[in-house]
């Protein structure tokens, strides 16, 4: 289980925790997010831009 971070605003998507508010349950793999997934906090960085930490 990894965590992926938005390089613009620091929002972190943890595969372990998911993002309940956005409707991604715990255990959601980052790779399974939609291709047009935009950062839920800043919306100006996309799935491709996220960095694994």
């Amino acid at each position: 289980m990894s965590t992926f971070k938005c390089p613009e605003c620091g929002y972190a998507f943890s595969e372990e925790d998911g993002d309940q508010h956005e409707g991604y349950p715990p255990g959601t793999e980052f790779a399974s997010l939609p291709d047009d997934f935009a950062c839920p906090d800043c919306s100006v960085r996309f799935k491709d831009d996220f960095e694994e930490i």
Binding site: E8, C9, Y11, Q20, E22, G23, Y24, A38, P40, D41, C42, S43, V44
Partner: protein, 393 residues
């Protein structure tokens, strides 16, 4: 005045004071200017005073921007973190939230309890709408932040102009699609503000609703559930506006209709001038380039920036949407408006004047250099504009 100290990488110590610190109070006081007209009406008995805020906004603000000019000062990057953490700036955005409610209730009380002539009734309704339009600006500053408190305050204040969907629409929709033909909140070259409003207002609502529906579907909830954030804000709007009708009578129905429309019109006006004609390029796969500073129009005019929480430093806002208003920066060589927002609104309301001022300015931008293929053009005006400016695609 409070100062911030930092040490640069080369060991040099710097000290910074924000000269605008106390002047940001203007963003807090500006929304309650209806009370100035009400007070003068009460004191003199002359209803014309009720219209004073209209003159302050559409004559006073552009004049002050012209007289006071621009401010290009930026805080040094080394103190930005301290500036962002200074609670004073944050508190101003909190305090203004109840003032937006007070402004609407105050204006409603006056039209509901005074026997006003039709023209001052309409005038005060419009002024209340402008004040609530500034509430969208307050909701904008708050809604971009990560803290739960600020996000909740954004949803609450957006209930005043009956525009609760803005919080979702703006961050998730507009920031993602800005300066593309897909964005209902980015104006196209040759599109008048009136035509734009008919595309923007319903288009923005539809986009917000779809985004919220997708989120709720992922959560296996109905779009009509109480978790729908648009409906949550709308519930506050209904309670507030119904309460005003019950308290002050049927006269509040036309008042609130005019108020709501003019509040939305404030956002339409800002959206219209912020990205007029600007276009992000697509790569071979159709993917748009990242939003760059050249994809927003800016103004450094000091007065209107001080009453709008620095909204006019728009390029930095789109590049870094979470950056707080006190830290937004000016950069050289950005697309620049010749006056502040209020002056540009007045020009936008007269379309031929807007085209006269802006079209040449747009085509003269270094990254456009007269090439209409690099401009977001209204499809119905493309041919006429190509003929006028002599460009081949």
């Amino acid at each position: 005045m409070k100062g911030y100290t930092a040490t640069l990488e080369n060991g040099e110590a710097i000290f910074y004071q924000d000269r605008k610190r106390w002047f940001w109070l203007l963003s807090v006081l500006y929304p309650i200017q209806a009370f100035l007209g009400i007070w003068l009406h009460a004191k003199t008995g002359n209803e014309a005073w009720l219209l004073l805020p209209l003159a302050l906004t559409y004559i006073g603000a552009p004049s002050l921007d012209w007289i006071l000019g621009e401010d290009q000062n930026n805080p040094p990057e080394a103190v930005v973190l301290q500036l962002d953490r200074d609670p004073y700036y944050r508190w101003l955005t909190y305090i203004v939230v109840p003032l937006h409610f007070l402004a609407l209730i105050g204006a409603a009380w006056w039209v509901g309890t005074q026997d006003l002539a039709w023209w001052s009734f309409i005038g005060l309704s419009v002024i209340a709408g402008i004040a609530s339009g500034l509430g969208i600006n307050t909701g904008h500053e708050l809604g971009h932040k990560k803290s739960k408190l600020e996000r909740n305050l954004a949803k609450i204040v957006l209930a005043v102009p009956a525009y609760g969907h803005f919080w979702i629409e703006h961050s998730r929709g507009h920031h993602r699609d800005v300066a593309t033909p897909d964005d209902p909140a980015s104006a196209r070259m040759g599109e008048s503000i009136y035509k734009f409003a008919l595309r923007e207002i319903p288009g923005a609502f539809r986009r917000a609703w779809n985004i919220e529906q997708e989120r709720l579907t992922r959560r296996e909830k109905s779009v009509w559930s109480s978790d729908n954030q648009i409906l949550q804000s709308l519930a506050i709007t209904v309670a507030l506006q119904l309460g005003l009708i019950i308290a002050f009578g049927w006269k509040l129905i036309p008042f609130l209709i005019i108020h709501n429309v003019f509040a939305w019109w404030q956002l339409t006006s800002a959206n219209y001038i912020e990205h007029y004609g600007l276009l992000r390029q697509q790569d071979d796969n159709g993917k748009y380039e990242r939003c760059l500073p050249r994809h927003s129009w800016n103004s450094n005019h000091i007065y209107s920036n001080l009453v709008l929480f620095h909204l006019e430093r728009h390029s930095d806002h789109h590049a870094h949407p979470l950056r707080r208003y006190q830290s937004l920066r000016h950069f050289p060589d950005l697309p620049t408006l010749p006056n502040g927002y209020f002056g540009m609104y007045v020009i936008a309301y007269v379309p031929f004047l807007w085209y006269l001022v802006m079209d040449k300015r747009l085509l003269a931008l270094p990254h456009v250099a007269g090439d209409l293929s690099k401009v977001n053009v209204d499809p119905s005006k493309r041919q006429a504009l190509m003929q006028k400016y002599g460009q081949a695609q």
